[in-house]
Symmetry: C2
Subunit: 370 residues, 2 copies
């Protein structure tokens, strides 16, 4: 018996820039011409059926005009298409068009597109570079930092995927103008969540500028895009040390995800998270971590963003409680919730533990009263 050691220690630099601005296609082309992806000249533009007409076509045509080789790969819009079959179809289409390892993927769209395209890039030819051109506030708030890419399966959301960092991210605020108002509002929930868990100052900014934001005024939107990146980056980076901090991003999501499911996806993700944040700030108040005033400030800001702050009538509250407390994560009858401390902090219950187990009766009382 003998042992052969394969020594594979190395420094990996996955750093990248997020460009935040208004109309960024020119900047993208400028970057490509200046070596963003080295000498690569073949681009697979991946997008969905809605974003295709709005932006992806323009980027695709511009690439051709600049002398690059490019093809559009379009899938039907919607979270339901973020699955292995769509991944396979795009891979096969890329193979049929002769794409090998010497290409770069450009994802143009919201979180579904960037999640899927980033995953495809991670396994195509054992990994090709990719660029995210993000067209939604939610992508700005959520999908730009962290490197999480994935697809859904019938039995699990986001469980098949990998960590994969893009070469660059473009957050083009101009694209937000074409979003339906309901999408803008929904995207605001993750932004408010970031403020609640990390920055009182950001919270106050949102409170003072919500109207401008909902009208997609450039300067205010650029500011919140930056702040979102900052919060997400700080949380995710610190979690590289496996401090468990990443868990704080679940603020509002424990109740939120359950409502989203029980509503049978009638509610958008951000809408469900908003209701979840209301429930969880009420819980924080009950546990003594926020004052009545702070609790009301959080609820008022969500309302100002025109997000729902109570459970819709068509949702069976009893079923919601049951959904929560039959989750796999329930231990000894208790489910863990992230709790905010005042506004701009989350509670670290003990080193590396950012959620606390709550009994069903306590959660029920809050939910029944919403």
């Amino acid at each position: 018996m003998s042992t052969f050691n394969v020594e594979l220690k190395k420094v990996v630099d996955d750093s990248y820039d997020i460009e935040i601005g208004f109309e960024l296609m020119d900047k993208l082309i400028w970057d490509l011409k200046n070596g963003l992806v080295g000498k690569l000249r073949k681009f697979a533009v991946i997008t969905d059926s809605i974003v295709k007409d709005l932006y992806a076509d323009k980027i695709y045509n511009r690439l051709l005009k600049e002398g690059y080789q490019a093809d559009l790969f379009v899938f039907q819009e919607g979270e339901k298409q973020k699955n292995r079959r769509t991944k396979e179809e795009i891979e096969d289409a890329m193979l049929a068009k002769g794409y090998r390892r010497d290409c770069c993927i450009i994802a143009v769209g919201g979180g579904v597109v960037t999640d899927l395209a980033g995953f495809i890039a991670g396994t195509y030819g054992r990994g090709v570079p990719f660029i995210n051109y993000a067209t939604t506030l939610l992508a700005a708030a959520d999908a730009s930092v962290g490197g999480k890419t994935a697809v859904d399966t019938p039995l699990a959301t986001n469980l098949i995927g990998l960590f994969n960092q893009p070469e660059k991210v473009y957050l083009d605020i101009a694209t937000w103008k074409t979003l339906p108002q309901r999408q803008i509002i929904s995207g605001m929930a993750e932004t408010i969540k970031h403020a609640c868990l990390a920055s009182r100052e950001f919270f106050d900014y949102l409170d003072a500028n919500m109207d401008k934001l909902l009208q997609v005024e450039q300067e205010a939107c650029e500011h919140i895009a930056e702040e979102n990146c900052k919060v997400k980056y700080e949380v995710v980076m610190k979690d590289e040390l496996e401090s468990g901090l990443r868990e704080v991003l679940n603020l509002g999501h424990t109740v939120g995800r359950a409502i989203e499911t029980v509503s049978e996806y009638e509610l958008l993700h951000g809408e469900a998270v908003s209701i979840g944040m209301v429930a969880e700030v009420k819980l924080a108040y009950k546990l003594g971590y926020v004052t009545a005033e702070e609790r009301d400030q959080v609820i008022d800001l969500l309302a100002k963003a025109r997000l729902p702050i109570s459970i819709p009538d068509y949702i069976d509250r009893e079923m919601l409680v049951k959904k929560l407390y039959t989750d796999k994560k329930v231990r000894d009858g208790k489910l863990r919730f992230v709790i905010q401390k005042g506004i701009g902090n989350v509670v670290e219950f003990e080193p590396g533990v950012f959620a606390t187990p709550i009994e069903e009766s306590v959660a029920r009382e809050i939910i029944m009263d919403m």
Copy 2:
């Protein structure tokens, strides 16, 4: 417009050990008990329908006996099953059994199993640890170093996958005893290739010990397993610097892969590579890189290993030349071949370039004469 920099520079240590020996299940269990995969106690044992009865069942039962949680995931044996559908079926079976991120995959089998299971491990829950328990000489010669995992698609071999390093590899020589003689012989081709490209001493060892090796004598087999790891490691490690050196592993493969395809997979991979090595050493002789004596030594060693050294009659040589010279890699009518210099060296034509373009007429002359 503003730029937010996501700084993600870090030291990654993917080092691992390859355990080479006879009957290694006890060692595997010992390693698990001593923290090889930390505190994980859930093991998904992935194997194929042949290896299941031979080894995987034993390992699975032993894990249960030792108090671990374990399940067997079995797919139909054969290269054809190394596809996205099999990956999906195993993922769904793992999800249905409640596997989440807190598990470890143990691949028990040859290259098909380790390629597939390593890819599944890379994307399951965005990456779970995996262990390779390799049961073939080919896996020892080829699949243990390099971290390449992948599946095949109708349009491309090994193009969907990722680089993923195992926690540990076990090369259990005892398992080779159950291989059909044809598989042992086929596996020997990659071993001889390693000798031809990297070590005259290893070549002479193979020449002196071929009978022992074909009879799977423990000591000789352990020695070649080690030497295979060493050569592969040196080539792959140096290529971390992107020197292009990895290309030398294609020795014999340019012609070999074409023959494998034209034979409609009647020939095993190693058999086809053997014929390819004969063609390519003849080419090396023609170009003046090996003497007539060295050329004959290579051909004689392949023959001693009972590998085929001429193109079977049922293969249309004209079709083979056509297959080679309609490849995507043909540039200006020339196809690139790795050329060995003497025995134990490959030619570096210029810094980082280990293959040289050869005209169709030159290749045709050699192939027509085989």
